[in-house]
């Protein structure tokens, strides 16, 4: 027979454990695994919010995926050079935002390179012909996109313009996820989109923020940087020797020259908007060292780190860092 006071203690512990329970849900969407951490959340609520997020991501994918023939972007890519294509306000506003971001990153974010990237993939030898590369990228860019808000249409004035959502899709999705979560009752949550984009709101149940760290890919026990995130997005990009092996040299392109970036540069950007942080994380890798300060002046709410590897190690000198970072540069 269990003594009554011990019985009550057990019940109390169960109650405390229940209250501090963490709900975890994950699913695939947009070709990526989504992981959702909801502290102090019961199972039914977690199922419910997870379903809302899945539905929202499916809706977005059906609009921006270039691999779905009926998507808005596929429709635009197919016909916008021949005639103005009518689209909805969500896509029109997204395109407006992307055009602004392309300007603010001095053209180092170019989401119109789809045709160029495909050519490079089909014919890797092109990478050696610098003149041809320059010629090809010159026929892309946001200045070839015409948006008419009055009639909600998109036109291209270059046949080589092809919108590729790969450089901003996850950020856009996380922005929409944040909208859904803001309408929910959860003050704190941590959502990872394929581990390269994160939305962290509120705080860890035993801390005042969410701590995320960027690991040295050659030395997994070592963190290069860590961030204390609160109501922020984080986006990381990078080129590793493994990337080059897997995707060839065309994984990340300098949109001003058309040449593949071959330095093993990595970036981590935090900010208040998903699209912005994702765009910046790529732009900071392809932009020359001397231009990063100028680019970041346009994004006062963002922090950024750019670092580099050689063939088999992390190079300790940080390539670029913008304060204030909520970083601790721990374990270095």
């Amino acid at each position: 027979m269990i003594p009554r006071h011990i019985h009550y203690l057990c019940l109390l512990e169960k109650l405390i454990n229940r209250m501090s329970s963490v709900a975890y849900r994950n699913f695939f969407s947009m070709g990526t695994r989504i992981d959702i951490i909801l502290p102090d959340c019961d199972d039914e609520s977690a199922d419910s919010i997870s379903l809302l997020l899945q539905n929202e991501l499916n809706r977005i994918e059906e609009k921006i995926s270039i691999y779905i023939p009926e998507s808005e972007f596929s429709k635009i890519n197919k016909s916008a050079f021949s005639e103005p294509v009518t689209t909805d306000s969500e896509i029109l506003n997204l395109l407006k935002e992307l055009i602004v971001l392309s300007g603010k990153t001095m053209g180092y974010f170019n989401f119109t390179l789809g045709t160029f990237l495909r050519s490079l993939k089909e014919n890797p030898a092109l990478a050696d012909d610098k003149e041809k590369l320059l010629e090809m990228v010159s026929s892309t860019g946001v200045h070839f996109i015409d948006l008419n808000s009055d009639v909600s249409t998109v036109s291209f004035s270059s046949e080589h313009v092809f919108i590729d959502s790969g450089g901003f899709g996850k950020g856009f999705a996380l922005d929409r996820i944040k909208n859904v979560m803001n309408r929910s009752v959860f003050p704190s949550f941590f959502i990872s989109f394929g581990e390269s984009s994160v939305l962290a709101c509120g705080s860890h149940p035993y801390g005042d923020s969410w701590k995320t760290g960027i690991r040295n890919i050659f030395k997994e026990e070592e963190y290069i940087f860590s961030f204390n995130m609160r109501d922020e997005f984080l986006s990381v990009s990078g080129i590793t020797p493994q990337n080059l092996k897997k995707y060839g040299t065309g994984h990340i392109i300098d949109p001003l020259t058309g040449e593949p970036v071959t330095r093993f540069l990595h970036s981590a950007v935090t900010g208040k908007e998903g699209v912005t942080t994702e765009v910046l994380s790529t732009a900071l890798i392809v932009s020359p060292d001397k231009t990063r300060d100028t680019i970041m002046e346009g994004f006062p709410e963002c922090s950024a780190v750019v670092y580099e590897y050689n063939n088999n190690n992390f190079i300790p000198e940080i390539v670029y860092s913008k304060k204030p970072l909520n970083d601790e540069r721990s374990n270095r």
């Binding site: 975890y24 947009m30 695994r33 990872s192 581990e195 390269s196 994160v198 860890h204």
Partner: protein
């Protein structure tokens, strides 16, 4: 998805399945598929030359050393059509008994209305003729018992047309299930939905019952015997047992056109392993089509579309670390970083193909070839008879449960 499977590939894959130790015992008929063809000519008759009989003929006509020597139908227009399709060498008959007596074929294919299956099968088996009979086996328990009893007594081959038994996608799925890919199967959900009146054109009103026999209880058990028996056979094979009991309900809620059989049926079959088959069929909506969903703690398989999903996407190490931290009340850094969005990985959420090849045969072609090969080699496989027998018994139980509105238990007086 890769290219189509040709016959050589098909037989090779079936042979591998047949050789797999976990599979071979429960699916002995796989050996028939890869059986060597000999030069012996098989003489075969087709009884029932309506749409299904002629569909089966499309597969029979290409089998080497098969002589379709006679055809039979008591509906003259169908017999005439069959004659021109099969060719002048096939002697036409209106009465199957005369055909069996005069032609003495090695085997017959029976594709008549359900209520005629039993006496034709029994007469053929007793005449020493091997039988392939379309599903379901028969309209009553007693008829099924009598047919199987005759099969056992005569030692003649007796196939029931459940083509999924010979569908390579299904067989691969059974193998994967037996290997534990989705864990123990805890539930099967199956459905077959169409949106049409299920009627055939009738040239004159006096032929209504003859042509639309599926609408009337005298000849048919409706959606149960015409559609459900396929998926019930699949469930029996997956659970590797027959159901203990079934309860269900049905009605005519849309096609109120004088038919007797229900236009929607809903059933729950309970199996001895404490798992269930949840089945429904209707003919007033086709949005969901047909599917067999096999569920286990580690994954899901959809057998008609041929796909499977892992129950949980592979865990992200950083995320697991975070959960672990929270559970242990630790506030610390977790690692972030991974690949960019590469759409090629979309396959993960859309499921994996059970067989990543184009399948051009739903099993019917292979089934007809296996039957003819068994006839040629005089290879009697009672396991395939059992599959048809048990699926029909379970089908009839479902029909009875719906009609009587009560739980119906597996009969105790079966002959096999």
């Amino acid at each position: 998805m890769n290219g189509a499977i040709d016959r050589k590939d098909f037989i090779k894959t079936f042979s591998i399945l047949a050789g797999a130790s976990m599979v071979a015992g429960s699916m002995p008929w796989l050996k028939s598929v890869s059986a060597q063809e000999t030069g012996k000519v098989v003489r075969l008759g087709i009884i029932g030359t309506g749409s299904r009989g002629m569909y089966l003929h499309l597969f029979l006509k290409d089998i080497p050393n098969l002589d379709i020597c006679c055809i039979c139908d008591n509906y003259e227009p169908n017999l005439q059509k069959a004659q021109s399709a099969v060719g002048p060498q096939a002697k036409p008959y209106a009465d199957y008994r005369v055909m069996l007596e005069k032609e003495k074929p090695d085997a017959v294919v029976i594709a008549t209305p359900l209520h005629q299956h039993a006496h034709i099968t029994i007469d053929a088996l007793k005449a020493g003729i091997h039988v392939f009979c379309e599903k379901s086996m028969a309209k009553t328990y007693e008829d099924c018992n009598e047919m199987v009893k005759t099969h056992l007594e005569t030692g003649k081959i007796f196939y029931i047309g459940h083509q999924r038994i010979f569908n390579i996608k299904y067989q691969q799925a059974y193998k994967m299930i037996s290997e534990g890919k989705i864990g123990p199967v805890t539930q099967i959900r199956a459905f077959w939905h169409r949106n049409n009146d299920w009627r055939r054109d009738v040239p004159s009103p006096d032929l209504e019952r003859k042509i639309n026999w599926r609408m009337y209880h005298e000849y048919s058990c409706g959606l149960m015997t015409e559609l459900a028996s396929h998926h019930i056979q699949v469930a029996n094979q997956i659970y590797n047992q027959h159901p203990e009991y079934v309860w269900g309900s049905g009605s005519i809620n849309y096609w109120k056109d004088g038919r007797e059989v229900y236009d929607n049926v809903n059933l729950v079959y309970k199996y001895p392993n404490d798992s269930h088959l949840v089945y429904d069929s209707l003919i007033s909506n086709k949005h969901y089509g047909l599917e067999v969903q096999v569920q286990g703690p580690k994954g899901t398989m959809e057998l008609e579309s041929g796909k499977m999903w892992e129950e949980f996407p592979p865990p992200a190490p950083g995320i697991l670390q975070l959960i672990n931290h929270i559970e242990h009340k630790v506030f610390d850094v977790i690692p972030i970083g991974g690949a960019s969005w590469v759409p090629e990985t979309a396959l993960n959420m859309k499921g994996q193909y059970i067989i990543d090849r184009v399948l051009e045969d739903d099993g019917t072609k292979m089934q007809m070839e296996a039957f003819v090969a068994d006839v040629r080699n005089n290879r009697v496989d009672s396991e395939i008879t059992r599959q048809g027998y048990y699926s029909t018994i379970a089908t009839l139980m479902g029909f009875e449960a719906i009609m009587k509105n009560e739980i119906v238990y597996w009969p105790k007086d079966l002959v096999m």
